[in-house]
């Protein structure tokens, strides 16, 4: 069983310490949610795990399938089974969704076998159609330039489509609910839930409790000032909705 183990992770952005010692373990088959007010380091954690060059790890380690992934290239982390659904996916003009996905799948095949000829076109088309149907996506979507002129909902669906195609073992969903109306939120959540199972572990990062009505976590963590200050079950999310973050802030300050 794969697990992502984050140990005492400290991260600087532009010489400012944003993460101040994060500890967290996510196993395949589990759903974890990280909640917290804006600016507490949630997106920094997601970006660091994926290996964005602007985030500098100053201390700690991240183990995935027994390897310290902080030593791996971004693409190697992906091929190892880590996935990040971006909060703001960038557009790639001139590259269609289908072409992009085929390139990504072929990169996986070629990493295993250099001589691989790539995924056969009929097989790829069939897979793409199935996944797109699942996400209620118009087939014409495959021919559009990736994220170029996409609505907020389309972007998030495209992220989940990529997740479905790449079959990660641990997926991080960074504010996947942001910018979505309730219908889009439902479609995206249904997509994620359809992918859930013993082979997928998910780390949901969200500002609002709303998403957790659709994607149900077993574990909820609260992040503040670059640390996880509280962990609990699904009821923790509910009490956050009811009481806000202040009581946790007070509690964590007392402990400090």
């Amino acid at each position: 069983m794969s697990e992502l183990v984050i140990k005492d992770l400290h991260v600087n952005v532009a010489d400012k310490e944003i993460l101040q010692g994060v500890n967290l373990t996510v196993k395949q088959g589990e759903i974890h949610a990280i909640m917290g007010p804006n600016g507490t380091g949630k997106t920094t954690l997601a970006s660091t795990l994926m290996g964005h060059p602007s985030y500098v790890v100053t201390k700690g380690e991240v183990l995935f399938k027994g390897q310290n992934i902080l030593e791996l290239e971004v693409d190697e982390r992906s091929r190892l089974g880590l996935f990040l659904a971006f909060q703001y996916p960038v557009s790639i003009p001139g590259v269609t969704v289908a072409n992009f996905l085929r390139t990504a799948l072929n990169a996986r095949r070629r990493a295993i076998n250099k001589e691989d000829k790539g995924i056969p076109v009929p097989e790829f088309r069939k897979m793409l159609k199935e996944q797109m149907d699942l996400l209620k996506m118009d087939p014409a979507f495959a021919g559009r330039y990736l994220n170029d002129g996409f609505s907020g909902g389309e972007k998030k669906r495209a992220e989940i489509l990529q997740m479905a195609a790449l079959k990660p073992e641990i997926a991080i969903l960074d504010e996947t609910d942001s910018g979505l109306d309730i219908d889009a939120l439902r479609v995206v959540s249904d997509g994620v839930n359809a992918l859930m199972g013993p082979h997928l572990g998910v780390l949901v990062i969200t500002h609002y409790q709303r998403l957790l009505n659709y994607i149900k976590p077993q574990f909820v963590h609260v992040m503040m000032n670059g640390k996880i200050v509280e962990s609990g079950g699904p009821d923790l999310a509910l009490s956050l909705e009811e009481h806000g973050y202040d009581w946790i802030r007070e509690k964590s300050e007392e402990t400090a």
Binding site: E73, V74, D75, S78, V95
Partner: protein
């Protein structure tokens, strides 16, 4: 009131040493000709002798410096010279458009090979080399020679006019619709050689044709020269798809003057692909001279190493209701440099014209540089002219995004560059040409 201090600016003229240098060609190098061709060559030779080598004090040459060119080292190839050179890769002979050619001409240094489908010849299509055309079809040569490109407009136009050893003549008679594409290749191996070419194309009223012309050579150890003229007339209601591919070796100094004249309701699709040469200065002009004439120019260039490619385009709207649309896209690597300088000119009285030009560049290495200079000169009322020019780098975020999906750095860069060129690919109606550009991207991206 206080007097402002006077500022005295002293302009120091840039020293240009190239003015003294000139080519070693002599009058004896002018190929034998008779009649109109002979007088044309004599006029061109006069113009050639009169003009000095252009230097950076001239606006059109401001960004393209010829001082390093060993001008006096170039010799014209002798008849049959090609026998001493490596032969052309078979691959270049493959059709780039459709499954088969209607005709194919290969021009070698000092020789040529001509092939034309019998059914096209029967329809009155003439597709032959310049030498043969002078003997067999002087009336066709006269229809076009010297009519769109003026030999006095530049040193290299004059050079090509006077000394062109060979070239291609294409004539498509009235209302003939030629579906099978015509293909010519100028193969220019050899160091210290001057390859000089002249293309003459006449698409008569109501006719249509597709023509692909390539210039190519291996890369040699010392410099070589190509100077060329392209003169094309697309007559009333006629239509031409013209594809030019330039893949000279990186030892070649390449200069061309090209002008296509489109008459009333004529239509031109003009596609350029440039990946070769050491240095290129290309003047490409579109003259829309009759009402309803339209022309589209699409350019693809990719430079690396120390290549220098300079494309100077002009869209001349000389009649009302004319439409032009230009899109040039380039990528640059290493310490290479590109220049695109474009002008849309709308003459007085050319109302209801629609002109568009855009040049987009992506600079892939710190040492590379792209200059993009659009221009409009509008003397008519009620016209629509727009332009855009951009020079950008490879953004970090799209690369990170692609890598986060498991695509390695190099492939991610290639995907982004291919995406950048996609709008040009979409304009190219020929799979073979698109595939050639795609191969060029793969090769240049390494």
């Amino acid at each position: 009131m206080q007097e402002k201090p006077k500022v005295v600016i002293t302009k120091t003229a840039r020293r240009i040493e190239s003015a003294a240098k000139d080519f070693a060609f002599t009058q004896a190098d002018i190929p034998a000709a008779s009649g109109l061709v002979a007088s044309y060559r004599a006029r061109a030779w006069d113009a050639f002798k009169k003009q000095t080598l252009p230097d950076v004090t001239l606006e059109a040459w401001r960004r393209t410096d010829l001082r390093a060119m060993p001008v006096d080292s170039f010799k014209l190839p002798a008849d049959g010279a090609y026998k001493d050179f490596p032969s052309m890769p078979e691959e270049l002979l493959k059709p780039l458009v459709a499954d088969q050619h209607g005709g194919q001409i290969v021009l070698f240094p000092g020789g040529s090979k001509i092939d034309l489908d019998a059914s096209l010849a029967k329809q009155g299509v003439i597709f032959t080399d310049f030498k043969t055309a002078q003997e067999k079809h002087p009336e066709i040569v006269e229809k076009i020679l010297g009519q769109t490109v003026n030999v006095e407009e530049g040193k290299f136009a004059a050079l090509a006019g006077a000394l062109s050893q060979n070239g291609v003549v294409l004539y498509v008679p009235k209302n003939a619709n030629i579906e099978q594409p015509l293909h010519s290749i100028l193969w220019g191996p050899g160091a210290n050689l001057a390859h000089i070419s002249h293309l003459l194309i006449f698409i008569d009223e109501g006719a249509s044709a597709t023509y692909v012309h390539e210039s190519a050579s291996p890369t040699e150890s010392s410099d070589a020269l190509h100077a060329g003229i392209v003169e094309i007339k697309v007559m009333q209601g006629a239509s031409l798809k013209f594809v030019e591919l330039q893949s000279w070796g990186t030892h070649v100094w390449n200069f061309t003057h090209e002008r296509i004249r489109v008459e009333r309701d004529g239509n031109l699709e003009w596609i350029f692909g440039a990946i070769g040469s050491k240095l290129t200065k290309n003047f490409s002009e579109l003259d829309l001279v009759g009402e309803g004439a339209t022309g589209r120019m699409s350019g693809f260039y990719f430079t690396d190493g120390t290549q220098h490619l300079d494309h100077d385009t002009q869209q001349n709207h000389l009649a009302p209701h004319t439409t032009s649309d230009l899109l040039f896209k380039g990528a640059l690597k290493g310490k290479s440099r590109s220049v695109w300088q474009g002008m849309i000119y709308v003459a007085k009285g050319a109302e209801k014209t629609d002109g568009y030009q855009a040049n987009r560049n992506i600079v892939l290495d710190e040492g590379a540089r792209a200059d993009s200079i659009p221009g409009l000169e509008i003397l008519a009322d009620d016209v629509r002219c727009t332009h855009g020019a951009t020079v950008g780098k490879l953004d970090e975020e799209p690369i990170f995004y692609l890598k986060s999906r498991g695509i390695p750095q190099k492939d991610a860069e290639r995907v982004v560059v291919e995406g950048f060129f996609d709008p040009i690919m979409q304009r190219i109606p020929f799979e073979g040409v698109r595939e050639r550009f795609h191969q060029a991207i793969l090769q240049k991206m390494g």
